[in-house]
């Protein structure tokens, strides 16, 4: 009897609290698989965000800190500088990273801190009940944009990978999605590379994951996946935006 695939060791047995069909669970699993495969599980320290993943410390079998809203990269900087042998990641959503945490993420990239950031982009504030996020698409309905996002009133969505790719200190930036098994495999490769980079000391690495939020998009799981493919991907194209090996 061979086990072809099972829950990675770096995840605990606690069932996740995320809504049915949410992409967070898939990303948690991909990260845990990367820890197991790179054999770094015993020295990983994570920073959980404010947002849906606030209880991520229950699910990862590694040391975790829960930070103030948007301050993940700043906390991760402190941990990494005081414990250089640790592998430090900050796990953040779009409301956390692209809104209140904009200064922290930009300056962590400017300083090229040797940390890994996993950025979940679902174009909405999930935990607080579907308010407009900086990444909300034009025309997308949110509780604070009931007629859909209007660029004249609320501006345009922000593309974090494209923006950070202008910064010299950012060494690895990739945008992936988790809507099909093919994309999940590509996402796994990207997440693993982001952690490998940190082990090699390359510098700031970030993976942006387009994730579905069926609950706050008021969609079925199938419709949510369709939304990712037809609405989000044209605005947020998948691909590698920067890939610089250590010099």
């Amino acid at each position: 009897m061979t086990i072809l695939a099972k829950k990675p060791q770096s995840l605990t047995d606690i069932p996740m609290h995320y809504c049915p069909g949410c992409g967070h669970g898939i990303v948690h699993r991909l990260m845990a698989e990367a820890f197991d495969e790179l054999k770094i599980a015993d020295r990983v320290i994570g920073v959980a965000p404010v947002g849906c993943a606030v209880f991520a410390d229950d699910y990862f079998a590694c040391d975790m800190v829960q930070g103030a809203h948007g301050r993940g990269p700043a906390i991760a900087t402190g941990i990494k500088r005081s414990k250089p042998q640790a592998v430090v990641f900050s796990y953040q959503g779009d409301g956390d990273l692209a809104s209140i945490g904009m200064a922290e993420i930009v300056h962590a990239a400017v300083r090229s801190e040797n940390i890994t950031v996993i950025f979940i982009n679902n174009a909405i504030y999930g935990m607080t009940g579907g308010q407009m996020a900086p990444t909300t698409l034009v025309g997308q309905v949110a509780t604070t944009a009931p007629k859909g996002r209007d660029p004249k009133l609320q501006g345009w969505p922000i593309n974090m990978c494209e923006m950070l790719s202008q910064i010299t200190g950012a060494k690895y930036l990739e945008r992936v999605a988790v809507d099909t098994p093919q994309h999940v495999m590509a996402a796994k490769k990207a997440i693993k590379k982001a952690f490998e980079n940190q082990v090699k000391g390359v510098g700031f690495s970030m993976v942006e994951v387009l994730s579905q939020c069926p609950t706050n998009w008021h969609a079925s799981v199938d419709q949510a996946l369709e939304f990712v493919r037809t609405q989000m991907m044209p605005q947020y194209p998948l691909g590698v935006f920067k890939n610089e090996e250590a010099k």
Binding site: A5, P15, P20, R29, P181
Partner: protein, 68 residues
């Protein structure tokens, strides 16, 4: 022959696995779980090829794929 096990205490019945299965082996269980969901289950085990796509899409890591 490959087979899968679904942890009914973790499954939240999103059926991402049902849609991901290239052989359409999976379906909706008729029994309600303790959590109040109708979990996914293997309905045509003879067609399973052990591709692990159901495992890959499962957001609750409820699926184990085993090859006998």
């Amino acid at each position: 022959m490959p087979r899968i096990e679904v942890d009914v205490n973790r499954c939240k019945a999103c059926y991402l696995c049902v849609n991901a299965c290239p052989k359409k082996c999976l379906g909706k269980s008729a029994t309600i779980s303790k959590k109040g969901y109708f979990p996914a289950e293997m309905q045509r085990p003879q067609d399973c090829i052990g591709c692990t796509m159901c495992y890959m899409m499962c957001p609750d890591v409820a699926i184990t794929v085993i090859k006998e």
